[in-house]
Amino acid sequence: MSEMLTSRLRNKWQKNLPIEKLLPDDQPAYVASWIYVFGVLTLSALGMIIFSGIILAFEGPAWYHTSSLGTFVNSLHFWSVQLFFVFMVIHLWGKYWMAAWRGNRMATWMTGAVAFVASIATAFTGYLVQTNFDSQWISFEAKDGFNSVGVGAWFTVTNLGQMLLLHVAFLPLILGVITVVHVLMVRRRGVVPPIDAMPSNSEAHS
């Protein structure tokens, strides 16, 4: 009798990503640079974006125009986005100069790059739902780019309702899933060894 799909999935998961790999309490000694903190800083900023975004979602897109608390929460959202991109870009450049796709880690790089693109799309729709002059201006200007390649036929940047739904539901879902997959891939493969590291350097200290 063939193995159940459920048990096959569980066995594969346990083989590739046991809890010791998912949440290890040690790391290779070469993990000793400030560049390593920018991944977790990016995740933390994303957490703050989601937290402040949920509060804004409960109060509606126009709340922050008229409430000092709303302005503060909107500011948290705004600055978290700025921090998120600063951390993510540093993380991305760091991984590039580490050639972090080495050793079967190509998919990890690719999911990270896709997460970067999804973040830009999510932030862009955020700018469109500010319900202020900036969103008027951005929507009028941006429509030409999307229309020029046919995307505007469905992705209507001047449609506040559509942009709001994409911003608070669809795009965060996509970004969240990609981010989880990316982090799981990092944990499965481990942190990439230094360029020019050799087995003799590795095993000599084991």
Binding site: Q27, Y30, T71, L76, L83, F140, V149, A153, N159
Partner: protein, 324 residues
Amino acid sequence: MSTAEKEIFDAAPWKGKTKKYDFVREGVIAVVVVTVLAIFFSLLFGSPDEPPLTFKGWAVSNSDNFYATAVQELAGTSGTATYGAPYNENGDGLNIGPLWMQRWAGVTRPIDTVNDFVIAPLSTQIMSSDIANALAAWKAASDSQKTTWATSYDDAITKVEGKISDVAAGDYGPVPVLAQGLTEMAKGGALDAALLSQGGFFQTDNTKQILFFGDGSYLDDAGTAANLQGGTWGMMNETGRYPGQAWLWLYSFWYQIPPFNNEESKPIGANADAYIMGLMGLLTLGLILIPVIPGIKTLPMRIPIHRGIWSQYYKSQGIKRRKK
């Protein structure tokens, strides 16, 4: 060690020296750092929030421009009326060589500037007999008569460079009264809601308002004043002294250089939006595929920034820098 052997070594679990590493502690510290920074910037700087423009503001501050734009909407000469897909079939749209992608899906967001921007909003109002008669005359006229009235009035306004009081007398039918009626409606603040609702109750689509705004000079002037124009890196700017979408710097960059920044330059400058979209699509694909692009994927090995990142490791193992 061959490239294949190196790849196998890089993929294998690390067998060398390890050290204790507390991920949870690192995560907690990161959350605290981000929270403190976000609160600090929020309290110190707040966030940008310039109030939206209104049709009332436009009609009051630049009545002639609003009036002339209303006439263009009736004449079918405004930017929206001649745009093409996805709003109407009155323009070819942009292309990349033989690819006219803008037209592929056809008209998916139909906009009839005559009715949607002027006649329908005006019809929602309690109106004077002058406007009621003008609306009745417009609705009763043939399409060719409407076009003749509106285009001759539009031409007359263009001839005096938009100064309505200087327009020569002529046979413009009900167009001047309709334009004046819409201007008064806008000045009273009723047009914003009428354009949005279009007779309905629940509405969340601001397309008609935004497009009408863009047909005149009011929105454009405000964008210039706020330093938001695309030709001056405006795409990555924010209103006030706030950081904008700096991550769009590369997208914005192309609009600053020839041939993209010259609308007269064919075919690229005249279709800059489409070409830049296509170019950024390719570059985005390139970013994702960096691990397989020759030259780009090996650059990190040749430029020794990694020597700084793993300096402790290289020092402890006595690994010298590669020879060029």
